[in-house]
Symmetry: C2
Subunit: 411 residues, 2 copies
């Protein structure tokens, strides 16, 4: 029997206890021994709850109990999670966490402690909820140099964009609906501004490239400026607007960014809708693979945490995670990345679909050849898809355009 302690009895923590109690036979068989939840740490009391008798309020009870071999940290946030996790590892306990802030900020240090102490610091649930992605990157895609990881890593924004596309709603209305359904928090900033996706792509990129990608250096743009008119253009082009978190390696250059993109129907991420997440990975010999599933939710996330607990139990004193070095990976500025752009240009003459807008010639003079796009029911402006150019060149050209209304990148 292996004793574990669960830090935090919120959504994920109660899910972890529920999963272990739902599938004890198969979980214990796969772990090779019985997994027993000895303690649950929470500041609150839960009278009448099944964990009432194993609830503790003081972390030191767990830290000082040598019977506890695995600590499950599902509190979220950097502190006190970081202090608890570090102390646990130093005390000889493996740690499984769902905490993306913790992993993005302190991953290399905690992995290094686990490695030197022949323990494990596992974090499958920190990215993509229930989707297996950390373990496949660590153990399955080992024959490849990873060239690209591009993910829909935030279910809240994917729901909002799917809703805007399906119902023609504006951002605010779709956000309100997401909040009503519990998909978005009352303060939705971390999701809609891309900060959540940013931490997740930092973790995936660090694992894929082996050096530390600092999330604070990743160019991050959210979806709060996407409008129903943008979506109307996207539909006309048969593209989908998705918030993508992406990192790429091109020769010795590494790029990482989070931003809304127009995704073509030929790309496997195109069909990923609602609260689902998906992670597309390109390897230099494997080609393209994609992992798809529920990116959040109590039980899917808890399933990923418990799969880490099973792995930690199977490898109690044997380190199994690749570690990423604490050496910072230098990211090339997004300015240097090359892609096509969709732009919207105000033009009073653009109302008549039979006539070419008056401003198109000027736009072509600046951007070169490209594709005119007109959305149904949209007047007073037109859309235009440029050829591929650097972000830097694009921004310079935008300054020469009168009536520039906005742009979305093309995948």
């Amino acid at each position: 029997m292996v004793n574990i302690a669960v830090l935090g009895y919120g959504t994920v923590g109660s899910g972890v206890v529920e999963v272990i109690r739902t599938n004890p036979d198969s979980i214990n068989k796969k772990a090779g021994q019985e997994i027993n939840v000895k303690y649950v740490l929470d500041l609150r009391d839960f009278p009448g709850d099944p964990v009432e008798k194993i609830l503790v309020h003081d972390f030191d009870v767990i830290l000082n109990d040598p019977d506890v071999k695995i600590v499950v940290e599902v509190m979220g946030g950097v502190e006190p999670a970081y202090t608890f996790v570090k102390k646990s590892l130093l005390a000889g306990k493996s740690v499984c966490t769902s905490n993306k802030e913790l992993v993005a900020k302190h991953g290399p240090e905690l992995l290094e402690i686990a490695r030197t102490k022949e323990l494990n610091f596992l974090f499958e649930a920190s990215v993509g909820g229930g989707i297996p992605i950390i373990r496949p990157l660590n153990s399955s895609l080992t024959a490849d140099e990873i060239l690209e990881i591009t993910g829909i890593l935030n279910g809240t924004t994917n729901y909002i964009l799917s809703k805007m596309s399906a119902d023609g709603q504006e951002f605010d209305a779709a956000l309100k609906k997401a909040q009503e359904l519990g998909y978005a928090e009352r303060n939705p900033e971390a999701d809609v501004e891309g900060y959540d996706a940013c931490r997740k792509i930092a973790i995936l990129s660090s694992l894929a490239f082996g050096d530390h990608v600092d999330f604070e250096e990743i160019y991050t743009e959210g979806i709060s400026k996407i409008t129903a008119v943008d979506i109307a253009y996207a539909k006309k082009m048969n593209y989908a607007v998705k918030l993508l978190a992406s990192s790429k390696r091109e020769e010795d250059q590494y790029y990482a960014m989070v931003a809304p993109f127009l995704v073509p129907p030929t790309h496997p991420l195109f069909a990923v809708n609602d609260v689902f997440n998906a992670i597309f990975v390109k390897g230099n010999v494997l080609g393209d693979v994609m992992f798809y599933g529920s990116g959040a939710g109590k039980l899917p996330t808890a399933s990923a945490v418990v799969s880490d607990v099973v792995d930690a139990t199977k490898h109690l004193h044997r380190n199994i995670m690749s570690f990423w070095s604490s050496k910072k990976l230098g990211l090339t500025k997004v300015d240097k990345a090359t892609r096509r752009f969709f732009v919207r240009i105000a033009d009073a003459s653009a109302g008549d679909p039979a006539k070419e807008p008056a401003g198109l010639a000027k736009v072509k003079a600046v951007f070169g050849e490209g594709e005119l796009v007109r959305a149904d029911g949209v007047t007073g402006e037109f859309g235009f898809v440029t050829q591929a150019m650097t972000e830097e060149a694009f921004h310079e050209k935008c300054g020469q355009i009168d009536g520039f209304l906005g742009r979305i990148r093309l995948l």
Copy 2:
């Protein structure tokens, strides 16, 4: 340094050598030591080829060399692969294979030998080519009871069906195109009749459910009877026809089958086209996940084989695969499975889209309420989607219908 031997220098075997030579630094780092291809076994000579000097024609050279710790079997077919693999394991060498026939037929025995000898018998490449699915089932989805695995596991048939859908071609023309492109063999029976997918779902089901699913007991139906008219109906309904290999657990009943299905646009398998494969898995706590990628091809398959070699190197004397018992899993007859069916009924009166076909009332009298479907340009018949019923009940009712032309199951 760990020495390996590659049995078979065909497409996959030469790919394995190429992958190891393409990414030596990252592969050796992940394996923890250098991986050296000491021998390649093939009956043929390859003058001028880089492997010329390490080529052997006699398996005993490999078997009797104690320096060879890992044998890579990529010959295909049951014999002599089975004899070579068994001898290798008994001689203390781990084995990595891409051979689905071998794994489906002898998996439990070879896994058991590997387990008792503290070795590994790994077969990531036997299902889904480069897509990680065996290792995720073994190591990632460990918190769940698996309720369903449904896959597009054969790229040839998926290409043919995609081509029929995109171009309105008949089966024979699409098959010919697939043969021209090298996606289908000259004798395409194993692919188009579903035998390849059958072996793959037997492997996945055995791993997911823990007991041995005998591929010979899986109901298997291919795509050679699918016509352009079937596809026209499917398009009208906005469904896609896909060859699915599926197994399900419902309480203590297990079902497995391979057959063409109509897949709705809301299902993640709907958008999996051309030669791509995908495997959809439902867990009792995880919910739905899907793994997508290249299901075949030299380098993707070789990438999966080499990822097994890396894992075998990391765990030279430590068994890491769950084994499935040799106890046969009793499958419930497909007759008892419940689903909706699409049927085509000959009806001379069905030419006028404004009028209800004369035969519809009789069809409803037999099947109950359901949905009339008419495809563009198709006359002399109509389509009908039944309500859910058992296969048994469906077949009994079909006997009561005059002019029954065919049926496709609905997912």
